[in-house]
Amino acid sequence: MSLNQAAIQDAILALQQITRREDATTDPAEIAVIFREKHVLIGAISSLATADLLGAAQTVNALIDSIEACIAAAQRGPFHGGFLAGLSSALDGLNRTLSHMQGSEALPRAPDASGAALSTAKAKAMQPTAAPGLPSKKTDFASLKAEYSAWFAICEVRPEKKDNLEFYMTKIAKGRASYEKVATATNVPWFFIAITHGMEGGFNFTTHLHNGDSLSSRTVNVPAGRPPFGTPPFAWHDSAIDAIRFDGLHEETDWSMPRMLFRFEKFNGMGYRKLGVPTPYLWSHSQLYSKGKFTSDGNFNSEAVSKQTGAAIQLKELVNRGIVLVT
């Protein structure tokens, strides 16, 4: 079953629930909310398949908001037990599907020791004209610091990708309380945790940040047996704190913008630099990246295009909106 089909089925279940609730409730305020959100749900069901996977993810996100609005409206009145349980079930399903949609577009690792470099001419031909030249082939932070600053200063989201960026901003804002809890315990900026969570885990709060295994038990895949403390099922933030400590990020002190971009890029792999291609992990959906990405088999495909919005573009938007300050 495709992720879109899963989302449609959950949305239909939610629509059935709120239609039944509409029949049952006498609260005019709740009826008004249901009438409005019913149309949001119908619009989402109708258009789910018109978009690609991340477009569908945005639609699912709207569905989740709609269902939450119905739950909030119902909680004001009595006799809502079965209704809320049914809606919550649909909500859980949609959240799971949304995370899978987002996660399925996660960029595979860009191996540092990949195949032969592209010719300069070919690498240049792959770049949009707005790019300030090819990225450096060096991989140490000292050599790259100025490039990160320069590229960050000029990067802009492509107009046609603003909706995608909005999706990331919405998810980051929604999860902010959880990210801040982890940040307080680790001294890692909350927005760095948030962007990493989106890029690697599809903003899924039901899985370990370490590797995407279910929070219902300790991690099974590498790194296995995490967190070593506590009893499952784990709270997301408890597991995330362990993941950050496990990676040693809590000992880092330099959280300047260039250093964060370096950490993001290093996390995904420096393989794009050897090819002379800007990494989509940072620059996708901006004017600095047009195509080329490593695929899950570890090979570079010069025509493949990343569907995620790059980490640097997300960070820049958070800065532009005055949500965070970076140096």
Partner: protein
């Protein structure tokens, strides 16, 4: 070199084999045509219903977000062309304030909505290509085959319009249906060649050249099965959700029969496409390995197709009669 295969003393075999060693696999093509006729019999009424359901669902993808926005919900997103249509009037009795290019595919009363149009054209391409191959395999003159060839060419050119249309709310079908056009377009060289091919030898070559094209097109048509189901289901749910409280109970009560009826008809459609796929494989196999021709199996397959045709007729009659 083609192995000469002769069944001596079997009159029926001689009739089926037609012009003998030099002929294209006429019997297998006849079987394929019989299967495709069944697919069409199953698909035509389904596609008619699908067009209505897709049109309604497509319209809701424009109207419902606009209504929600007019009631304080999230603003309706611009369409792919950047068009924004606001809701005018009362929620239950208003209209959209702009006719966006994307709406036309669902609001017109002349053409099928895009998903249905894509499926119809894909099926028509297969049926016409089969008929044209058979006409030429039987050494009928080109004029007789021309109608099928023109039909095939028309079906293929239609995909350009479908591809240009905004892809509709095909409920999980986008991936399947957007592949349908390019796959069907692979038959374009066949359409061109059929115009020139006027002998059975050339038809045999065309069969081998188009083995994968036919296979892939059949597979894509079959994979659209669940996508069609999702359209029917979404349409039904939306109609219930938007009905008045007084009408809702009756609609809900009738929904299981309606949805289960579509499940049955769509399942029939899928099974018939599987049989068409088998029939095409038999055409190719007969071409590659002439000695594999099996008169009894071919006759049995044609008989099976006749039985299936009757079963389709009964299933559709039962569905329409509400039993």
């Amino acid at each position: 070199m083609r192995f000469c295969f002769v069944i001596r003393g079997v009159v029926l075999a001689a009739a089926l084999l037609g012009t003998g060693c030099a002929s294209a696999p006429r019997s297998e093509l006849m079987r394929m045509q019989a299967q495709m006729s069944n697919v069409r019999a199953a698909a035509d009424p389904l596609f008619d219903d699908l067009a209505l359901a897709e049109r309604r669902v497509g319209l809701h993808s424009a109207t419902s977000p606009a209504i929600a926005a007019s009631l304080g919900g999230p603003p309706a997103a611009p369409t792919a062309s950047g068009c924004v249509a606001h809701w005018m009037g009362e929620p239950a009795s208003g209209f959209l304030g702009a006719l966006c290019p994307e709406h036309i595919a669902y609001e017109n009363s002349i053409a099928d909505p895009p998903g249905t149009a894509s499926l119809r054209r894909g099926l028509a391409a297969l049926i016409d290509a089969t008929a044209a191959l058979l006409a030429l395999a039987e050494n009928r003159n080109l004029a007789e085959a021309e109608a099928q060839i023109q039909g095939l060419a028309g079906a293929l050119s239609g995909f350009t319009q479908v591809a240009a249309a905004p892809f509709g709310p095909t409920s999980g079908a986008a991936a399947v249906l957007t592949l349908l056009g390019p796959v069907a377009q692979q038959l374009q060289p066949l359409a061109n060649e059929l115009v020139r091919a006027n002998n059975a030898v050339r038809v045999r070559e065309l069969i081998l050249q188009n083995e994968d094209n036919f296979n892939r097109l059949i597979v894509q048509l079959r994979r659209a099965d669940d996508a069609m189901f999702q359209i029917f289901l979404s349409d039904s749910e939306i109609r219930i959700a938007l009905a008045s409280r007084a009408d809702r109970a009756a609609l809900r009560a009738g929904q299981p029969r309606l949805i289960n009826g579509y499940r049955l008809l769509l399942s029939n459609y899928a099974v018939l496409l599987e049989r068409a796929e088998e029939a095409w494989k038999a055409v190719v196999r007969a071409e590659k390995e002439p000695a594999s021709f099996n008169l009894i199996a071919t006759r049995a397959a044609v008989d099976e197709a006749r039985v299936a045709a009757e079963a389709i007729r009964r299933a559709q009659a039962a569905f329409r009669a509400g039993s």
